[in-house]
Symmetry: C2
């Protein structure tokens, strides 16, 4: 019925060349305003929309940004990850908001096996990519070879400097959390983190804890440092271990909200009062942190800020056709809710 109208059709009707129509589409100054108007009218009447695909093929720009989310285990999928970590939705949403203003679109992917990732980018001809999280080193080699605008988020390894790099001030955040507990009078303060040895991000959060403890002349008791999976269940498991083991902590610095929430619920379900019997501070400020009673005191990561910066860095390089590398650190902030209280209050129990 409606055979796709193309640029040739418009040109024919307008009695001009396809070049002229193209100039109008791109609003170049090469065409008189009068002609432009006339051609625009024809395009509108025929409901003509230029094919981005064809434009891409000839000018080499797809106006597509790839956004990649991490998968921990091979069996994981972007799906399950999006489902379990509320963090990502917020990040994604903000990126979309920024790039769509430039008429760019967002193409979603998980990380595929080694070679496949690079091939995906090449085959789609992505104009830029944004990676969230930490991947095997090979991935970065591949990506670097591609030489397209790239931003990394939450990567601390040295090669992060080969790309745009955005991080949260993890040390500072954790320091603030710990200092908060100290100011409340706590001395027996535990730390719960992900893989502290292997993951720089968790290690940094541990360092912030240590910094605050040292500053207050509190010794770091190794029995007060715990590693968990960064999941709700990780928190549940830890809480049960803690309650079984009679650890005499009064405060807990947990380096991810999702874990902190698992700890809190498990304690509460077991009849342990939060914060009276145990003060808890989390990290991230995910949405659910404000849903619980008491609300979770936490370190807010400005996730949408990170998304916004990521998107803007990408767009800047794309628009200027440059390959710069900037490192940005996003400040974190202590959000005090109900899960922490002064030690004096806890003693009343």
């Amino acid at each position: 019925m409606n055979k796709k109208t193309n640029i040739a059709e418009i040109a024919r009707i307008a009695g001009v060349s396809t070049a002229t129509v193209s100039y109008v589409i791109n609003d170049l100054d090469k065409v008189s305003e009068k002609t432009k108007q006339r051609i625009r009218k024809i395009m509108a009447d025929l409901d003509y929309i230029p094919s981005l695909n064809a434009r891409s093929l000839s000018n080499g720009q797809t106006k597509l940004i790839g956004v990649t989310l991490p998968l921990i285990a091979p069996s994981d999928t972007t799906g399950s990850l999006l489902e379990t970590n509320p963090f990502f939705a917020e990040y994604l949403g903000e990126i979309h908001k920024v790039i769509s203003a430039y008429e760019y679109d967002l193409l979603l992917s998980g990380i595929q096996s080694k070679g496949k990732y690079k091939n995906w980018i090449k085959s789609r001809g992505l104009d830029g990519i944004i990676l969230l999280g930490y991947y095997p080193t090979d991935i970065y080699e591949e990506v670097k070879a591609l030489n397209i605008p790239t931003v990394l988020t939450d990567v601390y390894e040295s090669y992060a400097h080969d790309f745009h790099s955005i991080n949260t001030d993890d040390i500072e955040g954790s320091y603030l959390a710990t200092k908060h507990m100290i100011e409340l009078g706590h001395k027996k303060i535990g730390f719960v983190g992900g893989n502290i040895q292997e993951s720089p991000i968790h290690n940094n959060r541990y360092l912030g804890y240590g910094k605050a403890m040292l500053e207050a002349n509190l010794t770091i008791n190794n029995d007060y440092v715990f590693e968990t999976l960064t999941t709700f269940e990780g928190g549940v498991t830890l809480a049960n271990r803690l309650m079984a083991g009679k650890v005499d902590l009064t405060a807990l610095i947990v380096d991810a909200d999702i874990v902190a929430l698992g700890v809190m619920k498990t304690c509460q379900d077991a009849g342990k009062k939060i914060p009276e019997e145990l003060s808890i501070v989390g990290f991230d400020d995910i949405q659910a942190a404000s849903f619980t009673s008491p609300g979770l005191t936490t370190i807010r990561q400005f996730i949408s800020k990170k998304g916004e910066i990521a998107a803007n860095l990408i767009m800047k390089d794309i628009l200027a056709n440059t390959r710069t590398t900037e490192s940005k650190t996003v400040k974190s902030q202590l959000i005090i809710r109900g899960s922490t209280c002064p030690i004096s209050q806890s003693k009343k129990k």
Copy 2:
């Protein structure tokens, strides 16, 4: 340095025509296995990846699925929506999981103003689109005219039958929730919903409530039916109203978890015991529903199931080049956690 290798380059090196290379890329039976092997080797050696863009232009398939999320108010953005409704991340993730198995990619969008949406789809040449939620009628007219595989989720209007359509069994879900309360001995059961008049989805949930009440010979007191915004704050506001107004409800059917969580936290913060003083059941089973203490009893929507079905319906039509219209209803399920208890227990207060 590395000028992009293309099909011509491969053909030249292999001493064959570009057609033959193309046949190999598409693994057609037109080429001898021996030649295939040889050409594949050359492609691998040169790290050659065919441009999907170019392929799209000539065969008319982009292997791109557009996924569109709703915006309530004009000022809203996909960003803010993704941030506030955990529902979407799960849905998105599942769609991605399915389509990526077919080497399709997911292009994210919000809904733009009227004409722009159609233009977006045309300009990108999307092979199919999935719309989540309800939009102005014009949108559906536009989409229908496009005549591409389309699936709608959570749309009850009659024109939904012009497309693939997926719904949750809202009436049944709400019925189950209400029946659960009745079986626990509650009689003064309130209903909290979104815009019941205007939104079929909320209306259906209201109907399910009514059905269960009627069946149990309980009269529906209009003072027991409340409308709220479908947000956490909506729940907070309602809870404050309820507590100020001395409404003597013992149970509340809330037609969205996010609202139910707002109600629950507000009550708890005010010292009201959940479920002893008020039993609450939600709807959706968002992730945070299991994070609170007590956990929120709710009606689970199999959101990932919906995403999976949506993706499969789209892929089926795309692969077979058909334009079918199926309507699927996804069952919901009562998930009992701690926010509901027998009326006898509540009387003990």
